[in-house]
């Protein structure tokens, strides 16, 4: 029932090919030119301009990033050398102070020893002086005792 008029009829039918075909082709070709100037070109320009802009920005950002990385590495080496330098200075200072401490200690020791020696000598001389005096007095006393004993007899 549906296919009643499929191929049939001099008039119409599904496969009725006529001047519609070339005219439609011309219409599509015209549409291609219209759409090209109205749609494809302007939109393409905008999109490609933006894509260029984005890719340029990405390249620029990459360059900047590599620069930053280089600077960072530079700073790191600088930091490293500064650290080593500081370490060296600290070590030097420590050695210096050690040396100074030792020197001062030696000096103080020497001084202490000297004054100890002096004191000892003084003590010794005073002891001998005292001993002399004591022996003098002992002599005197013994003389006195002897005289008295002699007198009593």
């Amino acid at each position: 029932m549906l296919a009643f008029n499929f191929f049939g009829a001099t008039e119409g039918g599904l496969f009725d090919i006529n001047a519609t075909l070339p005219l439609m082709a011309i219409q599509v070709v015209a549409l291609t030119y219209i759409l090209n100037s109205l749609f494809f070109k302007p939109v393409g320009n905008v999109v490609e301009k933006r894509e260029k802009f984005v890719s340029n920005n990405i390249i620029e950002a990459k360059n900047k990033l590599s620069e930053v990385k280089k600077l960072e590495a530079d700073l790191l080496t600088q930091l490293q050398s500064a650290r080593l330098e500081a370490q060296r200075i600290v070590n030097e200072a420590e050695n210096e102070s050690d040396k100074l401490y030792k020197e001062a200690l030696e000096l103080a020791n020497d001084e202490a020893n000297a004054s100890k020696e002096k004191a000892r000598l003084e003590i010794e001389s005073q002891t001998s002086a005292a001993r002399d005096q004591l022996s003098k007095q002992a002599d005197y006393l013994s003389e006195l005792i002897v005289n008295r004993l002699i007198l009593e007899k």
């Binding site: 029932m1 549906l2 296919a3 009643f4 008029n5 499929f6 049939g8 009829a9 008039e11 119409g12 039918g13 599904l14 496969f15 009725d16 090919i17 006529n18 001047a19 519609t20 075909l21 070339p22 005219l23 439609m24 082709a25 219409q27 599509v28 070709v29 549409l31 291609t32 030119y33 219209i34 759409l35 090209n36 109205l38 749609f39 494809f40 302007p42 939109v43 393409g44 320009n45 905008v46 999109v47 301009k49 933006r50 802009f53």
Partner: protein, 236 residues
């Protein structure tokens, strides 16, 4: 009534007689309405182009990008630019025709003979498109490679020659009949279902029809681009 409906549905045309030539008026009427709508839509979207796309421009840029990807993957980096407008026009024309035919209730407009519908449901339209594709790939091959284009016919061996020549006929034939058959069948199925069960039941089929319509537009544009790509491809 059924015969009346069926007769109206299939193979009836609104004839325009201009001098000696006869045209299917309903095809041109619908195509003008739909293409007019498409052009208005595109002019609105491209009226004020900005670097930060908004609204319609966004949609059009998405469409442009979609068509570019289609053309680029099928035709190749070297010449896709030359053919992008043609491929894009084919896609838009077929898509707008298919969807316009399926979505707009044309039946409300009564014609003296035949009825309005998708322009792609008429064999003249699809053959016109398919022949344009054939001409395009010949032109693309000849303009890019000169007479070396015909090396394609004996590539990789001369045994292929008859098959390649046959292909030049089967390509437009399959392109036109695929599109014509799908869209017409969809219209018929929806028409018959609406006639038999006017409520609810046709809706899933209508959705299926929308899906088919979109897929057919994509297939047509992709195949056209593939044929052009095949013609400009360099064999080593």
């Amino acid at each position: 009534m059924l015969t009346n409906f069926a007769a109206l549905e299939v193979g009836q045309h609104l004839y325009w007689q201009i001098g000696n030539i006869r045209l299917h008026g309903q095809v041109f009427l619908t195509s003008w309405i739909l293409l007019g709508a498409l052009l208005v839509f595109i002019s609105l979207g491209t009226k004020k182009m900005e670097n930060d796309p908004k609204g319609l421009q966004n949609l059009l840029e998405f469409l442009w990008d979609y068509i570019r990807d289609l053309a680029r993957t099928q035709i190749g980096e070297k010449v896709y630019r030359d053919w992008m407008p043609f491929i894009g026009t084919l896609f838009l024309f077929v898509f707008v025709s298919n969807w316009g035919g399926a979505l707009i209730p044309w039946r409300l407009i009564k014609l003296p003979s035949g009825e309005l519908g998708a322009p792609t449901a008429d064999i003249n339209t699809t053959i016109a498109l398919a022949l344009l594709v054939s001409l395009s790939y010949f032109y693309a091959g000849l303009s890019n490679k000169g007479w070396r284009y015909f090396e394609y016919y004996v590539h990789p061996t001369p045994i292929m020659l008859p098959f390649k020549i046959l292909e030049d006929f089967t390509k437009p034939l399959s392109l036109s009949f695929r599109l014509f058959g799908n869209i017409l069948a969809d219209e018929l199925v929806v028409g018959v279902l609406v006639f038999l069960v006017p409520l609810i039941l046709p809706i899933p089929v209508m959705f299926l029809g929308l899906f088919t319509s979109a897929i057919q537009a994509l297939i047509f544009a992709t195949l056209a681009a593939y044929y052009i790509g095949e013609a400009v491809e360099e064999h080593h």
